[in-house]
Symmetry: C2
Subunit: 158 residues, 2 copies
C-alpha cells in the first residue's frame, strides 16, 4: 500500500523564497469521507489522488496522472465547494525537498510548508524559516481549507 508520510509547518518569514521553483496549482475534492479523492491541476499536468485516513503522520495515498482536460472538467463540474488555488514553491534543504504552499483566493495570506519523509520517525533538520508544526491540525488539511478557508485568520496572525 503506497503511503504518504508528511510533516507540515507554518513559516516564520519569507527567507524560503530564495532559490524556490514555483508552479500554480488548482485542486478540488470529489469526496472528503473515509477516502479523500482529489483532482489537481499542476501547471500543464494533472492528477487524480485517493488518500485514506491519517495514522499519525502517515496515510495511504494513490496518485495517477490524468489528462489535463479531464481534470479541468472534473474541477468545474464535479468538485464540491470552492476550489483551492495556490502556488507551490519547492526548496531543497539538507537533502530534503520542502514544498511551500502559498494560498490564493479564500485562503489568501496562508503559507504552509510540507516535507515528505521516507519513514515516520525520520530525523530532519528544520530550515531557519520554519515556524510552528501543524501536522496534526486538521484545519490545515487542504480538503478542510476548501470548505473552511483560513485566509483572514492567517492575515490576523501575520
Amino acid at each position: 500500500m503506497p503511503l504518504e508520510i508528511e510533516r507540515k509547518f507554518l513559516v516564520r518569514d519569507d527567507r524560503w523564497r530564495d532559490g524556490a521553483t514555483s508552479e500554480r496549482y488548482c485542486q478540488g475534492y470529489l469526496s472528503k469521507g473515509k477516502a479523500t479523492v482529489r483532482v489537481r491541476r499542476a501547471g500543464d499536468r494533472a492528477y487524480l489522488t485517493v488518500k485514506g485516513e491519517p495514522d499519525g503522520i502517515s496515510r495511504p495515498e494513490y496518485e495517477y496522472e490524468i489528462p489535463v482536460d479531464h481534470a479541468q472538467s472534473m474541477l468545474h463540474a464535479l468538485c464540491d465547494g470552492p476550489l483551492i488555488e495556490k502556488t507551490r514553491h519547492e526548496i531543497r534543504h539538507d537533502g530534503l525537498l520542502w514544498q511551500v504552499d502559498e494560498f490564493a483566493g479564500a485562503n489568501s495570506g496562508l503559507i504552509v510548508a510540507e516535507v515528505e519523509l521516507s519513514h515516520p520517525d525520520q530525523a530532519i533538520s528544520l530550515p531557519e524559516w520554519i515556524g510552528e508544526e501543524v501536522t496534526d491540525d486538521p484545519r490545515y488539511y487542504n480538503s478542510a481549507l476548501a470548505t473552511n478557508p483560513m485566509g483572514s485568520e492567517a492575515e490576523r496572525s501575520a
Copy 2:
C-alpha cells in the same frame, strides 16, 4: 468531457449465455455523492472510475487503469459498505456489445444487461432475451446495489 451513454434492461431468460465471454468483477465505491468514484477489479486488470450525475441516459465518465494491488487495498481499506461481486458476460448482437452482469453475494439472483451507445437517440435492435428496461431506475445503479442489494427481490420475481 467523456460521456457514458448507456441503456439497461432486465433479462427474460438464459439465451444470452450462448457464446458469451465472461470475467469476474469486484468493485466498491470511494464516493457516492455528486461524483461517484468507483474502484473495480476486472480479472487481472483494475480501474479507477469517476462518474458524474446522469442526464437522461448519459453521464460524464472518466476511467483510468490502475495497478491491481492498488485496487485491492482500496477495495478492502477505503470503500464504503459491501463490495459488489459479479460476473460480466459479453455478447455481440447486431453490431453492438451487450454486457450482462450476473450478480453474486447480497445481489445473487439479479441479472442486468447493459449496452453502451454512441449517442443518446441511437436506434438499437433488442436481443430476444431482453426484458424490461430499467435505465431510469436508480435502484439498479451499481452504487445503489452496494448499499441496498436486490438479491431477494430478484429471486421473488424470477
